[in-house]
């Protein structure tokens, strides 16, 4: 009996404490813009979220390498205003939800600015987390348009799909003279659906005909005979493949086997990889895609980056994300350098908004007056038999409307 009354007292105490706590602030819901973090001590922390595990690991590994390269360079040169840059890395496991947790962990560990993700789906979640805390986010390869709608301080160093798609549409229609184009879209990745949409709209606007659209799911398909046979029946002049190179290669290789020859294959920056020539085989030689830069360019930034990368890792970056990540880290550091006074996420965000004409590996980056979406040029490249990408035409942001 005594024990039972003790139990009641204990339960009552829990209840009382809870209600008190509840009154004091348990029911808060909307937390508007956060206050961000401020760098203290003798280092400035920047965070990177990358897919170090999971099926997007190739991009995650490259972006981590790119960022680490820049951070090491800065620190070897003495840091920023005497302070070292400390890189915090979080794994998103190729999963939006875990990516968000990773972002919040980095912020709670004191990152003043967060870099990352390549995949738009994960970046969208990160953008929400960053906006809530008032932390600026510099996206690496998230080209999907609506990422930057998630908050005021969401930046990216790449172009958007609403630019990339039209560039390829214009190139296909005007330069290649293709009048009938078919699409192949990976329904599993937001990037591919977004890019296909922007390509389709602009190409139709130019007066071209989209004869067919076929779908597949990345990672789930091994044989594309069925889709390709359908495409062949529609008699296209060109095929726009908006997916990642992991599927594009097999598709193109199998296309030639089912007799879909004499067509031009085109795609977006998801094509970029040194391995696409091996998986696509002879059929993909002569394919065109839109890229952020080409390692064949003779701009000094590209040369310096590649030399440093090879010196550190003994190989060239596997994908274009190495360079974009490097640029993302560079603009973040550039902004930190520009801050006078306390380095806080607020001041860094302000500095990012004022960044102008930064000469990045992937081209000039200007955030000033652009709301986080720098007007960047796009480079159409042609795949050569030796696997290199020959730049064939550069498009300025003003070239497509």
């Amino acid at each position: 009996m005594k024990r039972r009354s003790f139990l009641y007292i204990a339960l009552g105490a829990v209840f009382g404490a809870g209600i008190l706590a509840g009154c004091s602030g348990g029911g808060s819901s909307e937390s508007g813009g956060g206050t961000g973090t401020t760098a203290t001590g003798d280092s400035i922390k920047i965070g990177l979220v990358a897919s170090l595990n999971g099926d997007q690991r190739p991009w995650g590994v490259d972006s981590e390498r790119g960022v680490r390269l820049l951070v090491d360079q800065i620190n070897e040169a003495g840091g920023v205003n005497g302070k070292k840059i400390e890189l915090l890395v979080g794994d998103s496991n190729s999963d939006p939800q875990i990516g968000k947790s990773a972002t919040e962990k980095l912020i709670s560990d004191g990152a003043v600015v967060v870099l990352g993700e390549v995949a738009s789906g994960i970046t969208a979640q990160m953008a929400i987390a960053c906006t809530e805390k008032g932390i600026p986010l510099v996206a690496i390869g998230a080209t999907r348009d609506d990422i930057s709608d998630k908050g005021p301080d969401i930046f990216r160093v790449c172009y958007r799909d609403s630019f990339q798609g039209p560039v390829m549409a214009k190139f296909a229609f005007e330069e290649l003279g293709l009048k009938r184009v078919a699409l192949m879209t990976d329904k599993k990745i937001p990037y591919s659906t977004g890019l296909s949409n922007s390509f389709r709209d602009y190409y139709a606007m130019l007066g071209g005909e989209i004869v067919d659209e076929q779908f597949y799911e990345g990672g789930a398909s091994t044989q594309f005979n069925a889709q390709l046979t359908n495409l062949k029946g529609k008699n296209p002049d060109g095929v726009f493949l908006s997916g990642y190179f992991t599927e594009v290669g097999p598709i193109v290789r199998q296309a030639s086997q089912v007799g879909l020859t004499n067509v031009k294959f085109m795609g977006g920056d998801g094509w970029d990889s040194k391995e696409i020539i091996n998986s696509g085989g002879e059929a993909i030689v002569g394919g065109y895609f839109c890229n952020h830069y080409s390692d064949q360019e003779d701009r000094p930034e590209v040369k310096a980056f590649l030399d440093a990368f090879v010196a550190k890792y003994n190989e060239r970056p596997g994908t274009t994300m190495g360079a974009l990540a490097y640029d993302a880290a560079a603009v973040a550091v550039e902004a930190i350098k520009a801050v006078t006074g306390d380095v806080s996420s607020k001041s860094v965000a302000g500095a990012l908004h004022n960044l102008e004409n930064y000469k990045g590996v992937s081209g000039d980056i200007t955030f000033k007056g652009q709301g986080g979406n720098p007007p960047k040029r796009a480079l159409v490249v042609e795949l050569q038999a030796d696997g290199t990408q020959k730049p064939v035409k550069a498009y300025a942001p003003t070239d497509v409307k």
């Binding site: 139990l7 009641y8 809870g18 029911g27 819901s29 909307e30 999963d95 939006p96 919040e104 329904k187």
Partner: protein
Amino acid sequence: MKYWPTRVVSILAGLGACFLISAAADASGNDYTKRLVVLAGVWVILSVSLNLINGITGQFSIGHAAFWQVGAYSAGIISVQHYANSGITGLPWLLLMMVAGAIFAALAGLVVGLPSLRLRGDYLAIVTLGFGEIIRIIVQNQKPLGEAYGMNVSPKFQFTWLVWLTAFAAIAICRNLLKSAHGLPFLAVREDEVAASAMGVNVTRVKVTAFLIGSALAGVAGALFAHYEGFISPQQFRMEQSFIILTMVVLGGTGSITGSVLAAVALFYLPEKLRDMGPVTGGQLLAGTFATVLAVYLVKRVIDHFHGTKKEAAIRHLGIVLGCMALSFVLSIVLNQVPVLASARYEAEKLRMVIFSGVLIILMLVRPQGLLGHAEFSWEWLKRVLGQRRSEAAQTS
């Protein structure tokens, strides 16, 4: 006896505990911690609800994330389209959405539950798995649901206490069910369908009820999740998530509610906590792996071939584990003399999932019946343990 006082006090204590959790999360002033607390609550709901289907009723369902997804998306789309002109704001709306999520998920549960009447074991498993994939692919192809990219869910409601209150409610539902005579038919169906049926148990109804309650709870979890996150995408409800929920149920001990709760919290926190681990050299990794395998092997041998008292067995386990830890330490120093192994560094972030799956295998090998087996936490159990201590103390003094 003293029914109402007990009831009122325990309900109030539950509420109080929720507010305490919420307040503690807020007091940390750290949104990462807060998010983990909330998500842990969501996982608890999911694992407890799957436990009802899988552990208690014995229906081998491995597509639980589908119900979660149905709840999240249905509540999400209703919120997006009707919140503005509904005239209801704040908590009541969220409660309404939880009900909506529950109803839609329960409907989905009915769709899966009905074929389950004809299917047993692995066939049911593959049907539930397939159902999960079908839902994901359908959602992924709908424009209004944002296709693969996902959809914004507005408004956002971030009530930490409500998530945990729902978790407590889910636990209470299962516990009450098991405590009353009503729960026994569920267990009977798990044990032997033919005998249960011969004893007058309506097997069909029991199975469908289990699916309905389980999926409705998952739907509530989905609604809460969608409104907490503010943005949901099909990628968050992949097949792997279903496997993780299933793992929580089995690891906790099939049928044990306490086990499901503990395993949910543990399996959710483990990969997150692993983020704090420092980088590891190749030598350390190799030594650790070797020592772990050895320890598992030895412990397994003790379990299989040792028939002494529990205490002696426990001491042996401890000895083996400590020995292997020491071995791992020594071995790592030795192995780090090899330049190749010393120079290969693996960041913790890359090892997270490897360690996670390793822990999973080890736990299953060493304790296949799950952490708690069929056991449940109860005050009687606590009293017994405490009482034992006390009487032991009395004896020794």
